[in-house]
Each structure stands twice: as C-alpha cells, then as structure tokens.
C-alpha cells in the first residue's frame, strides 16, 4: 500500500559546505608546491608583467622565482643585514627593497645590479613602494617616518614623521600618485597628499596596523591589523564603512585579486580568506600548514604565493582542466529508437521510471537482514559512505535484527566488521550507534570459536586499545571543561557582583568595634 521508505542515512552524514562557483574556482589552485627558504619570509611580490616572476624577500636576500618551474631565476643578495619588502615596478624591470641597514636599495632585475642607494632613514626600512608614473620611491621606516625619494637624483624629496611608532605598512595609489597611505604600530593610518604636503586624513584602526591597501578607485582603503580588517571611506572623511573580523589571529597581508573583485587576506591563523569586494562576505578559505606572513597573487590569478613563518614559500598554480569534447557519434542501436518514428497506435503505455532501489533497501524490504549488512560492508560502501553502513546498523538495532545478522559469519566477514568499528567508532556522529553495535557484537561472539582466530583477536585487542585511549581523552577533556567552567563561572559572578554593586544599596557586615562601643554619648535634653 504505502511505498517502502528508503533508509535515511542523512542523519549520519557530514555537514558539507555548499559548493559555490567561487569555491570551485579557488579549489582549482590545487595543492601548493613548497619551497624552503632561509629565515622567515618577509614579503612576496609578483612582477606585474608576464611571465609573472615573483620576488621573495627573506633574511639577507631577495630571490626572484620563476612561477612555472618554481626555481630561483635571480638572486639579489647585496644586503649586509636583513632585506625587507622587495617590490617590482609596474614594468617589472626595477625592484626596490628596504633593509635592516636603514638604506633603500634599487635594483635592475635583469642584471641584478644595484642602481641606487637611498640613505637617510635612521632605522630599518620595512616597506618600500614605487610611485606610479613618477620616478619616485616611498619608504616606510621604523624611525617613525616615511620618505619620498627621487630616483634620478637619489635625493629625499619629502619626509613625514607624524607617527609615534614604527611604520610597518604603506601604500601608494596608481590612479592618483599624489596620495600615500601609511599605517603604523601606533594604531593610526594616515593619508598624505604630496601636492599640499599635508596629512589629509588620519583614522584609528584600534590595533597595530600590519597592512594597508587602496581599492583602485582610491576613495576607499582598507587597513589590516589585529584580527580585523577595516574599510574606510576617504570621500566621507575617513568614515568606517565596515569592519571584518574573520580571522582569529593577526592579519598580516591583504591583496586584491580577480580584476579587483575579490580581496584576499592572510593571517597568522594559517588561513587565506577570499572575500567578495562588494559585500565583504567570505567566499572561500585556504588552509596552510603554518602562520602566514605574506601573500601575493599574480595578475592573471593563476599563481598564489604564500610566505610562511617557517621560511616556506607555498606556490600554488591553477590547473586548467581542459575538457575534451567528444564528437556526437550517431547512435545506431536497438536501444535508441529513431526519433523520426511517430507511433500510430490507439493507446500508448508510458514507460514508467521506477526509482532505483539500493541493494540494502531491497534486502531490508524483504527482511533479509544478513544480506543487507553484507551489502553495506562492501569496501566501496563502508569506506566511501560509512554513514550508509551506520544507518543500516542503526536500523537493524532498531529492528532487533543485528544479532541475527551477525551470526553465521565467516572469519573474513567478521574481520571486516571489526575493521569498520575500529575505523569509525571514534567519529562522534557514529559513536552512539557503533558502541551499541559493538556491544551486540561482543554479545554475539562471546562464545564463538572465531574470536580465537589470531587476526580477529588482534583486531579485538586494537579495538579495546582504541576505546581505552578514547576514554582517556574524554576524561582529560572533561577535566579541562570543568576547569574552564570554573573560570567562566567566576567571571560571571564578578559581572553580576559588579552589576549588583551598582543597583543594590550597599550593606556592610561591620560590627561596632570595642572602642566604638565604649564611645557612648547620651543626649540629655
């Protein structure tokens, strides 16, 4: 009468994230190739011209890598102390870098020659940038100032020292070259106009600024520091548009990608997150094995290079899957009736498409419990979709049929069941059902000679060992939870006490001291 309801394995399914076009796009980047460097990677910058070489600044040198071979193409090592923040000019020919030795150095990439040496800072220079369409360089230094240098004359044109702490972030704008942003560890981001020589804008980020970034139109800029990215509107006089906090550790780098439609942020929490620039919602997240210090993506979005704290550069390249289109062959077969034929009969019985019934559903419908269990213990099902196996086991427990399904099995099949238990019993979503199933298993095979089999015995021992470890972990965790509860309860109590102090009249529990009691004055009117 009623149709047979299929086994519902969704209860035990993993919650999967929804597949979006963006996640597919970013997953194409594939697994990164790891290149080991000496010291921590301070900065990565892609050359804006093909074939998109990228410069990795770490310890006392700047290395220019070929993104395809992932080999060092050029090695600029004319630094006595640590080099910092090497960037390419927009034509990819020149490269400038700051250094620990307080100088800013300008190199010719192809010949590796040092072309200019800008002296004037009194502390290490961490970030340097070319000014677009002008022969100028901006350098941001730990001496709390930043300077603009003229390349031909090697002279300092302008110098600003409004900040009260190290300046570790800066940006120039390609459309309006007169605007310069500086972000400092004093929490402030300042914007300067070199035409008026003045500070135009100053905003408080709230934590040491690690990175600043202009959006291309120059009326919005972003600052990153602490666990937040803040979006500021320049035209509204530095109004805070949005505050994004998706990372749980300090954000170290920001980059634009996909024709400025996406924003990438790298953080010490080992994630690179991709945001939609229109609403700043996270679209995708990439994981790395260590804290991220710097990150850059090539202009065609194909190569993502991420510098990690342990000196590893992870370079991932988009793998284009070329779809081979098959020619539509003419299908001539009895299975494919020609479409030109029009039936001229009185009544046509439509071909009913019956819903496909899985093997275990069919067996369940026919009460063949043992067969149903067999069908879900097949390695393909048990490994790929363990939730189906678990939900069938649950159904069998519910029908009081698992014991019957267990009995009469051969050594191989019993080993299969045990292996499934070992693999899945610690999974929280399966644990409840599988613990019951394991109990039934033990009840069933208690007296069976099968457990004397060396392989089965070994598996049983390892299952016991696993469960012991699991209970030990659970114990530890509940102890930790208890400790945390104490702290939380303490905090909550303090809060209520504080609130109470404001609201309630203050009672004291002082009793008059002996002296006070003695100090007796009787008024006699």
């Amino acid at each position: 009468m009623g149709s047979f309801k299929k086994l519902n394995s969704k209860i035990y399914e993993k919650t999967t994230s929804v597949i979006t076009p963006d996640s597919i796009y970013w997953k194409q980047l594939g697994t990164p190739v790891l290149v080991k460097e000496f010291g921590t990677v301070d900065y990565i910058n892609f050359s804006p011209v093909e074939p998109y070489f990228f410069a990795v600044t770490c310890s006392v040198r700047v290395q220019v890598y070929n993104p395809i071979t992932k080999l060092v193409a050029k090695n600029l090592s004319r630094f006595r102390e640590n080099a910092y923040g090497a960037v390419f000019r927009s034509d990819g020919r020149l490269l400038c870098a700051g250094s620990e030795e307080t100088h800013v150095k300008l190199f010719d990439v192809s010949t590796k020659n040092l072309l200019r040496l800008f002296k004037g800072h009194s502390a290490p220079v961490h970030r340097t940038y070319f000014v677009e369409s002008r022969p100028q360089i901006v350098s941001f230094s730990d001496d709390k100032s930043f300077k603009i240098w003229d390349i031909p004359t090697e002279k300092n044109i302008l110098s600003y020292s409004d900040h009260s702490d190290y300046i570790r972030a800066g940006a120039t704008n390609s459309i309006i070259p007169d605007l310069v942003l500086s972000g400092s560890y004093d929490h402030f981001v300042n914007m300067y106009d070199t035409r008026t020589n003045q500070k135009v804008l100053s905003v408080n980020h709230g934590s040491p600024v690690e990175c600043v970034l202009f959006l291309p139109s120059a009326n919005v800029f972003l600052s990153a520091g602490g666990t937040e990215i803040k979006v500021w509107d320049v035209t509204a006089g530095g109004r805070l548009l949005k505050s994004i906090s998706q990372h749980h550790k300090t954000i170290t780098s920001l980059k634009l990608a996909c024709d400025n439609k996406r924003l990438l942020s790298g953080s010490l929490d080992r994630h690179v997150k991709v945001y939609d620039i229109s609403n700043f919602k996270v679209l995708h997240s990439l994981n790395y094995q260590n804290a991220i210090l710097s990150m850059d993506i090539s202009q065609n979005n194909d190569i993502l290079a991420v510098g990690l704290i342990d000196g590893v550069v992870a370079v991932s390249r988009r793998e284009e899957t070329v779809k081979v289109k098959k020619d539509d062959k003419k299908t001539i077969s009895w299975k494919h009736p020609s479409k030109s034929f029009q039936p001229t009969v009185d009544s046509v019985t439509p071909c009913l498409n019956h819903e496909k019934e899985t093997k275990h559903d069919k067996c369940l419908r026919k009460f063949e419990f043992s067969k149903a269990l067999d069908s879900v213990l097949l390695p393909y099902v048990a490994n790929k979709t363990p939730q189906v196996t678990v939900s069938l086991i649950h159904e069998l427990i519910k029908r009081r049929a698992l014991q019957k399904a267990f009995t009469g099995r051969e050594q191989k099949s019993v080993a299969q069941i045990l292996r499934f238990f070992i693999r899945n019993i610690t999974e929280p979503r399966f644990a409840k059902v599988l613990i019951d199933a394991a109990n039934i298993f033990v009840d069933t095979f208690e007296d069976s000679p099968l457990i004397m089999d060396p392989e089965i015995a070994k598996l049983l021992l390892s299952l016991t060992q696993l469960l012991k470890e699991e209970t030990a972990i659970a114990n530890d965790l509940s102890q930790l939870q208890g400790a945390m509860c104490m702290i939380l309860a303490g905090a909550a109590q303090q809060k209520t006490a504080a609130v109470g102090a404001n609201l309630r009249p203050v009672h004291h529990n002082l009793i008059p001291s002996i002296d006070a009691q003695k100090d007796l004055i009787i008024n006699i009117n």
């Binding site: 009468m1 149709s3 929804v18 427990i397 009081r400 409840k432 019951d436």
Partner: protein
C-alpha cells in the same frame, strides 16, 4: 449553566466488519450506535442510520420484501431494520434478552432470521430469532463466557471458535453441535465460513490458517496455510470461495488460493494493523478495516479504490491537543510517526503529516519492536512554524530523540522540513513552546528537557555568497541548581519565559539568558508540573500547578496571590479569554481566571464517566470574537479520554442531530423520468419583501457612511439611531 459534554469524534469504527450492499456500490460501517453508509467509489458518506440507543453489536445487509435493508442490533436487544433507499425504519423490535454479544443476519430467501448470542446464567447461549415474528429457537450450543468469534455461512451453518475449540452447528439441526479441538499452546483467534460449501477457515495465535473440510463428520480433514508470524486477526472468504484473505498485526493482507497454498499475493505496508476483512458479494471489491479507524476499499488486483478515514486512532496521544491558529484544526498524534490535522468545525480529518519518515516496523513473535513516535508538537502563533519532537525509547540500547522544525510552504500548502536536530537533550523533551510573536525574524523556541536543562533556539539566516536560507540554531542553554525542569510558558508579549525547576518557578529573558526572578514558597513542596502566564489584563500573573496545589504568582510584586490545594493533571490556558482550566486527577474540571480564586465554572460530574483524560485544550469556536457570549460558546474545551474519544465541554449542540438532506440514490427508470425541479404555473409569484423600507433608513445610513471619519461622533452613540432605522417598520 448549560455546559454539556458533546461527543465529537473518535471511538472505534472497525470493531465490526464492514458490510457491502449486494451491488458493491455501498459499504456500511458500524460506529458506536449508528450505521454509516459510504459510497465505495468515492468514499463519501451518503447515509447515517440512527435510532439505536446503545452500542451496536452486529448488523447485516439483506433483502426483505425485495428491498435492500440494513438491520442492526444493540447490546440491549434493540433491533431496527432500515430500508436503504428511503432510510425509513421498516421493523423495530426489542428482544427480551439483554447482554447481547453478537448478532448475525442469516441470508435466506424466506423471512429474515438472525443468529444472536448472549450471556445467560454465566454462559453464552446461541439463539436463532425471526426478525418479523416473535419466535426464537435455542441452539444446542453453550460455551463459557470468554472471548469467542462467530461466523455464519449463508443459511447453512454457523461456526464458533473459542480458545482451543471449534464448534459447528447446522441450521437444519440446530440442536446438534460438532466440536473440534486443537492442541495448546495454539489458540483460535478468528473464523470464517465458506458462503456455500461446508468449508471453514480458522486462524490461530501461531499465525496459521487452517482449512477445515467435511465438518459434519467426526474426522474433518485439515489443511494448513502458514505465512503470518503473529496471530491471524481476521479472515475473509471470496464469494465463490475459491480464494480467501487473511490479515493480522503485520499490516499485510494476504490472498490465498484455496487449492494451492503456494499461490499467495500480498498487499504490504498498510497504514495500521488489520482488524476486519470483507469481500463484496460480487467479488469486485475488498474492504480492509485497519485499526487506525480507516476502511480501505481495494479491488482484487489490490489497486486502491477509495479510503474511508475517521479520526485516526493511534497508539499514543502523547502530544496532546494543539490548535493550529490558521485553520483552527486540532493537531494530534495520528498513525505511527504521523500527526493528524482534525477540523473541529466540520468534524473531518483534514490531512496527515508524516513526521518521522520511516517504515513502520511491526513486532515479531517474541520481541516487541518500538517504532519512533511523535511525542511533542508546538506551533508558532502565526501558524508558519511547526516543531515536532520524535522519540524512540529503547530499553536495551541508545534511544532516539529528534527535534524537527517545519515551515508552512504556501505554494504546496503543506509543511516542509527546515531543520532537524539530533539529541538536543539527553533523555526526553518534556515541553516546548515558540515565542508568541507575529513577527518572523529572530523567533525563539524553548525546549525543556529531561537533562535538567532548557535550550533556547532561534531562527537565523545562514548566508553564503549565493544563497540565503533560514535555519534554527541553538542560542543558549539554561539550568538552575541542578533541579529537574518540567514545563515552560512564554509571557503574552514573548519577552519573558517561565521555566519550572523542581518546586520553584524561574523567569528568564529569552534574548540573553538573564535570570529575572525565582519564585518559591515553603508551602509548595512537590515539583511543579505545569506553568502558564495569564493573558491580556492578567499578564502579570503566573499560574503554576503541581500534584498538590495550584498557585498564582504576581510578577510585579513577586508575591503569591492565591493558592488552592488540588491535584492537577492538566492545566490549559485559553487564547481568546483570560480563562484557564484545570482537570484534576479525579476528573474534576475547574475553569477560573488567574485574578481570582473563585472558579468561573466547576464540575465534578461532567467527566466522571470518561476514565482518565489524556489531553485537553481550549479550541476557539466560530463565534470566538463575540465578546458578549459566554466563555464556553467562544472557546469550548476539547477533551480526549482513555477510550480515544474526543468530546467538547461547551454549549449544547443539536446541529449534529439535524437530519441530512436525503439524496436520491435510486436509479430506476421511473425515477429518471421525474424532473429534478418542478414549477407550478398556477401559483402566483409573490413579490420579495425586504426587511426595511428603503426611504426611512436612508438618511441615517448616509449620515453614517458619508461623514468624514474625523468628524464622526463615536459609533456607540450613533449605533442606536442607525439600528432603529434599520428595524422593520410596518407601513
């Protein structure tokens, strides 16, 4: 006060086998003290034969004076024969024997006869009575007064099974009884006689069907048909007798061929266990009566023809009665894993919703299998969200507890699953309630569990870059001093939630989880099981009830207002008025307003007969907005009792007894020549008379309708002149 108990619905529909009319177009079903006639093609009810006072113990369809008639007999011996075409009573008769147990009409050519059995002097006696005459013949068969089953084979013989014995009596020689026995532990459960031949089928507790032949000899021949694992509950022979049907607790109908027991056909997964089977006289249809109070009509190929469904009777009524605010339907447990929407206005089943979505598993011979049941229901104030709790208590292994949240989809006009949560609480969910807000965003749901905690869930939106969807998420968990919590109630504006913990009542802010106050009194010692907020002008009052007392708290002064020692089993609050009602353990009903300890209504007699009360609810009636009416006319109390019958405590309703319009079901040639409506040209047509003359009231009406709203005098002042202008004025 004229408050009466009105029977609404429920009660078994399938205690007696349904009977077909001779052409199989109609099927008759006995329900309490009436016979209902349904069309087999459409499943629509066309007739209701009333007149018998007590419970009907048997009825039959037969011919009398070449009219098709229905004859029914009550347990007190009242026999009425109705003519099917006209619904007139042809015969009424009262036999002197009381305590009638069974009644079977004997199909024969001559004067109508019937076989009755009744209890007399501690024994069951069988008797054949003439329906038209005052003649009765005693049979030579008496049995002990235990459970027994009777079946009659047209006018040839009848068979009785009881425990280990099968008794056959021929109508030709009623004094001689043939008795056959089987060995224990098997026991007979049901019997069916071949319509013509001397073949008897018996079902037994081991699930076997035994075919008995040559029954009027001392050594009958037996053949065993065994498929059922559980006891066979019912059997039915086809008219020609070449095959038969059997059914039982497996919810599978089996069709057997009499000459070959390998040839069988199954109709599996019926909604409930099978109670009765009847084959139509022309072999065209089979009626399967299932224990969910439904009769399914199928054809011999087991294709569905129609379904006759009354109030679904399930195994549990744990959810109680919840009123759907949109349709005013009662939401209750239905079939296993389903809930039913039952309209109280027209006493009809609206629809069922399958909540659990799992196959019903029937028990096996020596192990009882628990199915997942719906244990709690809550519906939001706008009727858009439905929360269901389903649970399966497993005595040996881990239990199931699942909360599902359904959203009403306007396009498909049904509830769609939105969110489900596994094991929200550790043991059981005692109560759950939605925040009573009309707005949809940030709605909250509170569940009170058996793990001494309550959970607050809220409706949020999950947003990915491409899609937005609504989802329910946990907000916070509350507990108080490791005390068990039992019930909760939201204040009328949803800003405060009261949760009972042990013998105290706590109130919390649902948004942040701040504890606002804790109410306890040394007089309250037992755990509080029910809590309700007052409504409208009594919204500051909180009513808490336990098994020893009912107390009302004022939340403004944090004091107890009044308290009464009473053992409360059910506390319900009305949504229309400020009234609340309690039903005590000994079935006393008190209706009161929280503001005063003086009850609005109390009665200890109304529910005296009902046995224990499973659930109760105030159900707003059609006139619920008329504030002038008494409370019981605006929202009567619906009560579900242990017999699974639905009653209302309200005004006396007579509309149930108004005779239905008699439809002409005769299809004779002559009747077709009679026109449906007739006009008589001789009659003069009367002009239509209006209630008021146009001119007189017009001026006042205009004043009322056309005046600008801001200049109008209050309606209560205008009302009188307006109404008097509309009163019929004789010229």
């Amino acid at each position: 006060m004229d408050i009466k108990v009105n029977f609404k619905a429920g009660g078994s529909f399938v205690e007696l086998p349904p009977q077909f009319s001779s052409n199989a177009e109609n099927v008759y079903i006995a329900w309490k003290n009436r016979i209902l006639g349904y069309s087999t093609k459409t499943g629509a009810q066309f007739a209701e034969f009333r007149g018998i006072k007590d419970r009907i113990v048997g009825f039959g369809v037969h011919y009398y004076d070449s009219y098709e008639c229905v004859t029914a007999c009550s347990c007190s011996g009242e026999i009425i024969t109705w003519k099917v075409v006209t619904f007139f009573k042809l015969l009424t008769k009262t036999i002197k024997e009381r305590n009638i147990k069974t009644f079977h009409v004997i199909q024969s050519e001559g004067a109508p006869r019937a076989l009755i059995s009744f209890k007399q002097d501690g024994k069951i006696v069988f008797q054949i009575i003439e329906l038209t005459l005052e003649i009765s013949h005693n049979c030579g068969l008496t049995i002990t007064p235990y459970h027994y089953q009777v079946d009659v084979s047209s006018d040839k013989y009848f068979a009785v099974v009881q425990k280990l014995s099968l008794n056959v009596v021929s109508f030709k020689d009623v004094l001689k009884a043939y008795t056959f026995c089987i060995d224990s532990p098997r026991e007979f459960t049901c019997v069916a006689c071949h319509p013509e031949n001397e073949i008897i089928l018996t079902g037994d507790s081991a699930g076997r069907v035994v075919v008995w032949q040559r029954i009027f000899t001392s050594k009958p021949s037996k053949a065993v048909f065994h498929w059922h694992t559980l006891p066979v509950k019912c059997l039915g022979f086809s008219t020609s007798g070449s095959y038969f049907y059997s059914g039982g607790d497996e919810s599978v109908l089996v069709r057997w061929q009499l000459d070959n027991h390998y040839e069988r056909k199954f109709l599996p997964r019926l909604a409930s266990t099978i109670a009765q089977i009847r084959v139509s006289p022309n072999n065209a249809l089979v009626a399967i009566a299932t224990n969910d109070n439904a009769v399914r009509i199928v054809d011999p190929r087991f294709e569905n023809v129609s379904l006759i469904q009354n109030l679904v009777i399930g195994d549990s009524y744990e959810t109680g009665i919840v009123v759907d605010p949109k349709t005013k339907a009662l939401i209750m447990n239905g079939n296993v894993g389903q809930i039913q929407f039952y309209s109280s206005c027209d006493n009809s089943l609206l629809y069922n919703v399958d909540v659990v979505g799992q196959n019903k598993v029937s028990s096996e011979r020596n192990c009882n299998i628990e199915n997942t049941q719906v244990s709690k229901i809550a519906i939001s104030k706008n009727g858009l969200w439905l929360a269901t709790v389903e649970s399966r208590r497993d005595p040996d292994y881990s239990s199931e507890l699942r909360l599902k949240l359904w959203k009403f989809d306007v396009t498909i006009q049904s509830f769609k699953l939105n969110t489900w949560m596994e094991d929200l609480h550790e043991n059981h969910i005692h109560a759950l309630a939605f925040q009573p807000l009309e707005t949809v965003d940030d709605l909250k749901l509170v569940t009170v569990g058996g793990d001494k905690k309550f959970n607050v869930l809220h409706l949020t939106e999950t947003e990915t870059a491409n899609s937005k969807s609504e989802i329910w998420m946990g907000l916070w968990v509350g507990f108080y001093h490791d005390l068990p919590c039992k019930d909760l109630s939201f204040s009328i504006d949803g800003s405060l939630v009261a949760v009972t913990f042990g013998n105290t009542v706590t109130t919390w802010l649902p948004d942040h989880g701040d504890l606002k106050c804790v109410l306890s009194h040394p007089m309250c010692k037992k755990d509080i099981t029910h809590v309700e907020f007052g409504t409208s002008n009594q919204c500051h009052l909180l009513v808490a009830a336990s098994s020893e007392r009912l107390c009302v708290w004022n939340l403004l002064t944090l004091t107890m207002v009044w308290t009464v020692p009473v053992n409360v089993s059910i506390l319900i609050a009305d949504t229309v008025t400020t009234n609340m009602a309690i039903i005590t353990k000994d079935n006393m009903v008190f209706v009161f307003a929280p503001i005063s300890p003086e009850p609005v209504f109390s009665s200890d007699k109304l529910l005296k007969k009902s046995g224990s009360i499973y659930a109760a609810a105030f159900v707003p009636s059609r006139q619920s907005n008329d504030t002038k009416l008494q409370w019981y006319r605006r929202s009567p109390i619906f009560v579900l009792d242990a017999k699974k019958e639905l009653f209302s405590l309200g005004a006396d309703e007579e509309n149930l007894d108004t005779p239905r319009e008699i439809q002409e079901i005769s299809k004779s040639l002559f009747s077709m020549t009679i026109p449906q409506s007739q006009t008589d040209k001789n009659k003069s047509t009367k002009s239509v008379e209006h209630f008021y003359l146009k001119d007189i009231g017009e001026k006042n009406m205009k004043k009322y309708l056309e005046a600008p709203i801001q200049t109008m005098i209050p309606i209560r002042i205008m009302c009188r002149t307006l109404l008097t202008s509309m009163v019929l004025q004789k010229p």
